[in-house]
């Protein structure tokens, strides 16, 4: 057994690190570090830089302009961009739609859409969840009626992340309402500028606008925007959902948060002594680190197997469950660490160019907000309950 990265992998990591160091604008990494709200332009700036280097489409083969990296290389790259405090790569076009088009799209679709994802012409949104179709995605109701040369789409999508920036949306729609849920679904590419589409913001409990509702009223969509075959969309959707997701455990996020927690626990005082010297609190930090260390190896075992061609199955679900719990635990301990300093909330503190003094230490204003925001990660992308159902169904033979 050898837990070490190979020389080649180490070299790759230092190449990525160096490149990010040289190329990532400081104004951007500062914003990410301070957790300021990112504009559409901020995301696009970083993705343009990546594309110029040829590193934007990490999940695509080289013939379509992707990196062709294996799972370990992708893993290293994902870690390094988080460590460098780069904006996240908006996944909807690059990681989600791209691979579906490459696998199931027509030549014309590939030729038209893939370059537009790479050069930033299109910002895609994901139209999956509906008010009545969350965990039970297959029960979706948005209806597309085939009119010969076009579809007429009616219905509502929800939890559309960053949909306020999108000019395109890929949607699961119902094209056959007679058959059983999974079999009457189609995968449609829709232009957000089409008449009849309305985007309404959803404000989350931390006061932020990240997700949206998208309403469709008699929206005309050309037949050529159907991906693959009519009524086979569920297969493509599953391909997209189960697509190898090496970053699902969020290990680098938890690592960053753990380091932050240790720094804060040294600076914060409890009864006149640094909090880190409190036996109970430091034990909680230690147990968190033990969980995280184990999970990192679990993650690497899965990544390593994937790089040898073994598609992760239930490991993705297990890693998602543990990964979200560990990450949520970091936000909980950070919140506990700062005590009453977690109370004040200045929404304007996260605007670009905010120069006022924070209340207390500069890191305090974010912590409770993050704790509440991170409740979402055990709900979205298949809730932890659904992940458990998947594992139990797939592995136990009960």
């Amino acid at each position: 057994m050898n837990f070490e990265y190979s020389e080649k992998e180490k070299q790759f990591r230092s190449e990525v690190k160096q490149w990010l160091d040289d190329t990532l604008p400081k104004s951007l990494s500062d914003k990410v570090r301070k957790h300021q709200r990112l504009s559409k332009q901020d995301y696009q700036t970083f993705m343009t830089i990546l594309n110029d280097k040829g590193w934007l489409a990490t999940h695509w083969p080289t013939e379509y302009g992707g990196t062709g990296w294996n799972a370990i290389e992708k893993h290293i790259f994902e870690e390094e961009i988080i460590i460098a405090s780069a904006p996240r790569i908006v996944p909807f076009g690059t990681i989600m739609l791209g691979p579906v088009l490459i696998e199931f799209g027509s030549e014309e679709q590939k030729k038209y859409y893939l370059p537009r994802i790479l050069n930033g012409q299109d910002w895609w949104a994901q139209g999956y969840s509906e008010p009545g179709a969350g965990s039970d995605l297959a029960s979706l109701k948005t209806r597309a009626v085939n009119m010969g040369d076009h579809y007429i789409v009616n219905g509502q999508k929800t939890w559309t992340t960053l949909g306020q920036h999108a000019n395109k949306i890929f949607c699961l729609v119902k094209t056959d309402i007679e058959s059983k849920p999974q079999s009457g679904i189609s995968f449609l590419l829709i232009d957000m500028d089409t008449p009849g589409i309305e985007v309404k913001p959803i404000i989350t409990l931390d006061g932020e606008h990240e997700v949206n509702e998208v309403w469709f009223t008699d929206v005309k969509v050309p037949i050529k925007n159907l991906v693959g075959k009519e009524n086979e969309g569920w297969t493509y959707a599953k391909y997209l959902l189960t697509f190898e997701r090496t970053g699902i455990a969020g290990v680098p996020y938890s690592k960053t948060a753990l380091n932050h927690l240790k720094v804060i626990s040294k600076k914060t005082f409890k009864d006149g002594k640094p909090l880190i010297e409190d036996p109970v609190f430091s034990s909680e930090i230690a147990e968190l680190e033990i969980d995280l260390l184990a999970m990192e190896i679990f993650n690497l075992r899965t990544v390593s197997a994937a790089s040898n061609g073994k598609a992760p199955g239930m490991e993705s679900s297990l890693l998602k469950i543990k990964g979200t719990l560990v990450r949520q635990k970091t936000t909980e301990l950070l919140r506990k660490a700062i005590g009453p300093q977690a109370l004040p909330y200045l929404p304007e503190q996260f605007d670009e160019g905010w120069n006022d003094n924070p209340i207390g230490p500069d890191y305090a204003g974010l912590i409770a907000k993050q704790y509440f925001n991170m409740r979402k990660i055990s709900i979205y992308g298949g809730s932890n309950e659904i992940q458990k159902n998947i594992v139990a169904k797939a592995s136990f033979g009960l």
């Binding site: 965990s135 039970d136 109970v280 919140r335 506990k336 009453p340 109370l343 200045l346 709900i379 458990k388």
Partner: protein, 372 residues
Amino acid sequence: MDFSISEERKMLQETVSRFFESNYENINKRNKNVNLADGFDKKFWLEGAELGVISALISPEHGGLGGSGDDLSIIFELIGKSLCVEPFLSSGVLSSTILSSINKPKIDIINKIIEGKLLLSFAHTEMNNRYEDTYIETKASKKNDKWVVNGIKSFVLNGDSANKVIVSARIDGNTNDKKGIGIFLVDHDKITKRSYNTIDGYRAAELEFSNSSGELLARDDEALRCIIKANSAGALALSAEALGIMQICFDMTLDYLKTRKQFGKTVGSFQAIQHRMVDMMLEIEQVKSAVMLASSTFHADDITRDKHISAAKNLVGRVGKLIAEETIQMHGGIAMTWEYSAAHYAKRLIMIDHLMGDSDYHRDRFKKLTLN
């Protein structure tokens, strides 16, 4: 043994409950109050005073009509259920406890608090003081025979709109000494304020005292005894408030599980979910019991009082996290939204653990009070 509440208290409960319900009909109304100039609705506050809600928090010997642990718990459980943001805690509990516990109680000021005409705030917490009673950096000294206060107090509930502020300050000794503490009454115009909303929608302020003249209310043992009592009373009130919130969270979650359908059946029909609801129910019963016990010993000797209040507040911190997190998780995305009231209940429940001592603080205090 009799665990039922008296007829009188039942009437109080019903009256106050109706009053809160009529003024806090939905979460939008509440969130509107949060954004008013003072962070609460002054009209509602005065109406509450007139109805006797503040009076119910203060004992007859100090001019009120209640003041027992049970009274406090009844009112604050209802405050929790409505997510009410009016300054019942800062003025009605913390400040009035100090003013009634000093050797020469300030009955005239308490009367005005009861009428809602004077709003007082208790400024004890500091940026480097987590929840400790004795950790005080703010200084008080005598200048030309008059007391002046210097320093900064943090996270002062309703500190921006208070007419007068009760501030703890160190007369002598080191920052964390038990001796040398004084409490002072300072007029609001002697203080520089920076106000803000807390993440759960309450109003607080940073208060800067710069040679601010104040009246000495108590010092040394007397002062510390009053600070401990005020913080304990606050912890009891918050525990009861949390209990009210937990019951709302439980009811909302259960309702949702009965109506929300996925996979052709209600989410609540899954056994894995039912068991989690039973865990929540059980823990809420535990909290209810701990709050009852702490309420019943509120007027016992200081050690008994603080032991049971710490037990309740510790349990509230632990169970509060469970209920808040499970409420959001079992609702799914809908409870992540601003529009849905469960999100605001969950936020308040979590942030109650950041006021008047968190679960760790009260576990440690319980240990000190019981194991030595």
